[in-house]
């Protein structure tokens, strides 16, 4: 049984270059790209030539490079290097006239994000970001429910996630241990996905942070909690509570509290959607995925690539700010500015 997304009708081959050869590229982007018939992966590029060569061999990619300057021209590139290194890379790719799809988050700061969008616009290029959770079935269902207002107006959003980053196998040489390269901590690494889901489902157009607290360990932010509100297109303001923690267990999901009930969206796509109807006795309704076999995260990666490829062919209607998650970058920047930071150190 096939994965749900439909491929674009125009079958012109799109040549792709891959910059950055980390684990996500190997296990998710490359399989997704390789499964799309009209995509041709021309080359892979990584600061480690060995890594690039090994990936190229495994995936039957013709060329492997260590430097972007040596790469041949392509239609589009995947930029999957750590977020702290992307500005310089995007400057080069836009100069070469390549459309670019970046891993999330798009940029390390809101200013950098805007600057990169301006560069892309100057050269008339399509830019996208890998907020793949938007392509989960349950997330789309939740957005449809919010848009239909079947539960009345949105009143409050509570979003939280335990940032259970893959820790096994990482030592101090991993970019995740480098505050600058990784963007500083769990808010950038995991929180951006969570907040992007909030924005996507609610159709928010702006976020305002009122309070924020962050815990920092060895320059690495390990927990962010924030309160504030988001503004909807209709002018309504919706209260927001947000927490992302790498240190303690919290509810992994988003609760959208509406006038007549609540929609709960779990982070795990397999857990589907829960709807709580506010009656004399609250009623819980589970909305399972209609095709459980298609919940694999790879399906979401494939969908986001098809979405991006479609935009390369038909750029009209591509809202680059929304697609690259500018509101999310703004939210992260506001958290950074407002944060009451507590640093902790423990004697060894």
């Amino acid at each position: 049984m096939g994965i749900v997304a439909h491929e674009p009708k125009d079958v012109r081959e799109v040549s792709i270059g891959v910059i950055g050869c980390g684990g996500v590229v190997e296990s998710l982007h490359l399989p997704a790209l390789a499964s799309i018939s009209e995509v041709k992966i021309r080359w892979v590029c990584d600061s480690s030539a060995d890594r690039a060569r090994s990936l190229a061999r495994a995936w039957g990619v013709g060329q492997a490079f260590e430097q972007i300057d040596d790469c041949s021209d392509v239609d589009a590139v995947l930029v999957a290097t750590p977020v702290g290194t992307r500005q310089a890379i995007l400057a080069k790719t836009t100069e070469r006239g390549w459309h670019a799809f970046c891993e999330k988050p798009f940029a390390i700061s809101a200013n950098e994000h805007r600057h990169m969008l301006e560069c892309g616009a100057r050269y008339g290029l399509i830019l996208g970001a890998g907020y793949m959770r938007r392509h989960h079935w349950a997330v789309k269902q939740a957005r449809d429910m919010m848009r239909s207002k079947v539960l009345g107006s949105l009143r409050e959003i509570t979003a939280s996630e335990s940032a259970q980053l893959e820790r096994t196998g990482l030592d101090l040489s991993s970019y995740r241990n480098n505050a600058r390269a990784s963007g500083g901590g769990v808010l950038v690494e995991t929180g951006c996905h969570l907040f992007d889901e909030v924005v996507f489902v609610s159709d928010a157009i702006r976020a305002d942070v009122r309070t924020c607290a962050q815990q920092v360990w060895n320059d690495y932010e390990v927990e962010t909690t924030a309160t504030g509100c988001i503004a909807l297109g209709s002018g309504e303001q919706v209260a927001l509570k947000f927490a992302v923690s790498g240190t303690r267990p919290v509810f992994a999901g988003i609760a959208f509290r509406c006038e007549w009930g609540e929609v709960r969206l779990r982070i795990d796509p397999a857990k589907g959607l829960e709807v709580f109807l506010k009656q004399a006795h609250p009623y819980r309704l589970e909305v399972p995925h209609p095709r459980p076999g298609q919940q694999h995260v790879l399906a979401a990666f494939r969908c986001e690539w098809l979405h991006f490829l479609e935009a390369i062919r038909t750029p009209r209607g591509w809202d680059v700010s929304r697609e690259t998650g500018l509101i999310t970058s703004d939210f992260i920047a506001q958290c950074g500015e407002m944060a009451k930071v507590s640093r902790f150190a423990v004697p060894v």
Binding site: A34, A213, R248, P249, F251
Partner: protein, 383 residues
């Protein structure tokens, strides 16, 4: 008198963090966590616990970081792709043995070494036959440490842990999901012994080992006395406020047990033949990667071939076909665990408590991860 200091390697993991928290409150010993990166260390440090960062696969670094410690408890296991893991285990075991030269190492292994379905005819205590990558890795570590113990004059006590349940533990998460799942029925009404161990009992067991004369021995560690699956499911249902899980009727339980037993007793060749037939019957709608046995068999082969290039190539093919439109591999099912017989061989004797001691912590954890508003308001005072 100086109290002994225990180093917990893998202190940010599920078992390691619970153990460190508990030993930290112990007046008779001191405990410090050993983590290999900042992210893991942060999890430990934010609880006010002592932590050190060291590369655990680097003998010099680990020895330096643990020089002043008297005993090490290893809760870690390197997990990479099958071809890298064997070499990583080797480095890790050598590094642990070097750091524990002349000291006592308590190594936590798993009942996964006996296979997913433990059946009395198949299982041997001294020469177990794991059927999963995880089980084989655990067994490899046991053997490496046993060999290295002599060379480094290290006393190594190996504990094969049962399925560990309790707050913040993966097994409890699985049980919560099963309790919520429509249609899940407990075979034999959960009367079979579980081979499981509550986190409180696990800590009690390890404490007992820490306070007795170091022994070169391998022991199972389960609840003492062994608890049934019904006890464990009821504990979890109770903590979530859900009704008790219904039982699978006896005839179906017996049929499933017989089928599993037949499967467990068949050799690898028979299994391959059977799975290949299943595959053949479904062609061309599916292909080899969708056969449930394919992935474990491939992992098994890759562990032996140890070629990273081949592994990368094979996974590339596998993932490409997968993304092209196949269904996710069907979950092989958890049922074999609930139909297993008691673990073979000697068990650690210690004073265990009833599973109910973990109820409060389970309830708190369940509330924290399942109720957005309530858990967050309680946990984040500034709100």
């Amino acid at each position: 008198m100086k109290i002994p200091t225990v180093g917990i390697v893998g202190a940010a993991g599920q078992v390691g963090s619970a153990l460190l928290r508990s030993l930290n409150n112990d007046r008779e010993l001191a405990a410090v966590g050993i983590c290999r990166n900042n992210l893991s260390a942060a999890r430990v440090a934010c609880q006010g616990l002592r932590v050190r960062i060291a590369r655990t696969d680097d003998a010099v670094q680990l020895t330096e970081a643990t020089r002043d410690l008297d005993i090490l408890v290893n809760c870690a296991l390197p997990q990479y792709g099958p071809s890298r893991t064997c070499a990583a285990n080797q480095r890790f075991a050598e590094s642990l043995a070097a750091a524990c030269a002349g000291k006592h190492l308590v190594h936590l292994s798993s009942v996964a070494v006996y296979g997913t379905f433990i059946s009395d005819r198949k299982v041997f205590f001294d020469n177990p036959k794991p059927d999963s990558l995880y089980g084989r890795q655990k067994l490899q570590m046991e053997r490496l440490l046993r060999t290295l113990a002599k060379k480094h004059s290290m006393k190594c006590t190996i504990l094969r842990l049962g399925h560990v349940y309790g707050a913040e533990l993966r097994w409890s998460e699985i049980l919560f999901d099963l309790i919520r799942k429509d249609g899940f029925r407990l075979p034999f009404d959960g009367e079979l012994l579980s081979n499981a161990i509550g986190i409180t009992n696990l800590i009690a067991g390890i404490r007992k080992v820490l306070f007795t004369e170091p022994l070169e021995i391998t022991l199972n560690l389960t609840d003492a006395p062994q608890t049934s699956w019904r006890d464990i499911f009821d504990l979890h249902s109770h903590s979530t406020g859900s009704p008790a899980v219904e039982s699978l009727n006896t005839s179906e339980s017996e049929w499933r047990f017989r089928e599993l037993k037949k499967w467990a007793e068949s050799g690898m060749t028979a299994r391959v033949a059977r799975e290949t037939c299943v595959w053949g019957r479904h062609l061309p709608a599916s292909f080899i990667a969708s056969v449930p046995a394919f992935r474990p068999m491939l992992q098994w082969a890759l562990e032996r071939i140890r070629s990273e290039k081949l592994e990368a190539k094979l996974w590339a093919v596998y993932h490409k076909r997968f993304a092209s439109g196949m269904e996710a591999n069907p979950d092989p099912g958890i049922l074999p665990v609930f139909l297993s017989e008691p673990v073979p061989g000697p068990c650690l004797s210690y004073e265990g408590s009833s599973p109910a001691v973990d109820l409060g912590a389970l309830q708190d954890w369940h509330d924290a991860i399942s109720a957005p508003q309530a858990s967050m308001c309680g946990a984040i005072p500034q709100w």
